[in-house]
Symmetry: C2
Subunit: 249 residues, 2 copies
């Protein structure tokens, strides 16, 4: 059996009771380390908490050589851990399909995802979010403006946009970096993004949430990662009141 | 202090370790009973599990008479429990604003939300969802077609739509009922919704996920609530493969 278990947002205690009990009873515990990170936990800390060895998995392990893990799952109880809620990433969906193709039973144990946590942290209403987008680090000769297209299309429909910020190895895009990139893209197109909401360390005891125009949010110190960004559309009254109260608008 | 704690999707073990420990140490435990339900749990079962009395809250308690609860939270450690992830509902945001206006410290402990769980259950990619909508039970002289407008706008942008199904007291809209309503709305406008994905009991050990055209999904028995519906846009290859494997497409 192969069970995908979400670990939630920040530290070892964000896993559900259901998930923790399955991990502690598993024959083998794998931890997916490449699509996201549990910033408030170390692998050693997780091993102590689970009372089980935890084997890290990198992209090539899952996308190119999953055979050994799948072989194990034909006879043993294998759990596949990841930050957030499983399957938000394509690579997990692919692995579940491969497992099922071999006749391996699969299951998912859900956990908190940043996709819904941002609603609570910002007060922006879930049903007002349009399509989300990802903002990659700019590379030489490659500066995609797709994120801006998504944001502008959402704004024109009065919808908020959740902007996932790039992670490259140990480099995490910050909210100020992201705002600077989007402001540059917008300026090049003579567009103006009126408001941003930056969020850092969702799920921790000390999340930072700051709302304001680009120049203000760029100047904030959000502290350590992970960061995420929202570009809100025109605010409803209660959304505005919430941001004034909890995000310094 | 007032802490909003999400209970996750289905039963008492879907709460996070962090949430459970705060509940067990709280002075007072309230359970919000009107925006959603934890179908795999009873209040008595939760009380045993938490080793704490649990006071149910109905809409009027929270929206009209929250003063007693807020007064308590000025001196005691009060927790406010709800199914799913807190704050996805406007009424929670309002309560948090009221608490903060009185100078009461507040916090949120996140949990799994149906909004991200549907991605894992259906294999439909998170970033391809547009604005979501709610489908109410039809009432005499009132048959809103807003949900259809949202679905058609999303389809025209090749985006999936998550359709929240109505809960009225102890009446839960089922996937077949929802599909029948949408097919009726679409027919009246000479539109055709090509595909549906119905999901029942997300987060339980036996979720049901079925994909297909309206006439097929309407004929499926999804079993007990809660149900939720997705109207997918044109599928990517892996989404199609996932639905074929796990949803009988």
């Amino acid at each position: 059996m192969l069970t995908f278990i979400g670990l939630g947002l920040f530290d070892k205690t964000d896993v559900s009771e259901k998930g923790l009990s399955r991990i502690r009873n598993a024959d083998r515990v794998y931890l997916e380390c490449y699509t996201s990170r549990l910033m408030g936990a170390t692998r050693e800390g997780l091993e102590q908490y689970y009372r089980r060895p935890v084997t890290p998995l990198y992209r090539s392990d899952v996308e190119q050589d999953p055979d050994a893990m799948l072989e194990e799952a034909t006879t043993k109880d294998v759990v596949f851990l990841c930050a957030g809620d499983p399957m938000v990433s394509t690579t997990h969906a692919d692995l579940r399909i491969r497992a099922a193709s071999r006749g391996i039973p699969t299951a998912i144990i859900h956990a908190a995802s940043i996709a819904s946590a941002v609603c609570g942290l910002s007060g922006l209403q879930n049903y007002r979010f349009g399509k989300s987008c990802s903002l990659p680090f700019p590379q030489k000769n490659w500066f995609p403006t797709t994120p801006l297209d998504v944001i502008l299309a959402n704004l024109s429909q009065r919808l908020h946009t959740l902007v996932y910020l790039d992670i490259q190895d140990d480099r995490y895009m910050t909210v100020p970096e992201a705002v600077a990139l989007l402001e540059e893209m917008a300026a090049a197109r003579k567009e103006k993004i009126p408001l941003y909401v930056g969020i850092a360390r969702a799920g921790s005891d000390e999340p930072v949430v700051r709302a304001g125009p680009g120049e203000l949010v760029r100047a904030c110190d959000f502290g350590p990662p992970l960061h995420i960004l929202i570009v809100p559309a025109e605010l409803h009254d209660m959304e505005r009141e919430y941001l004034e109260m909890f995000a310094g608008l």
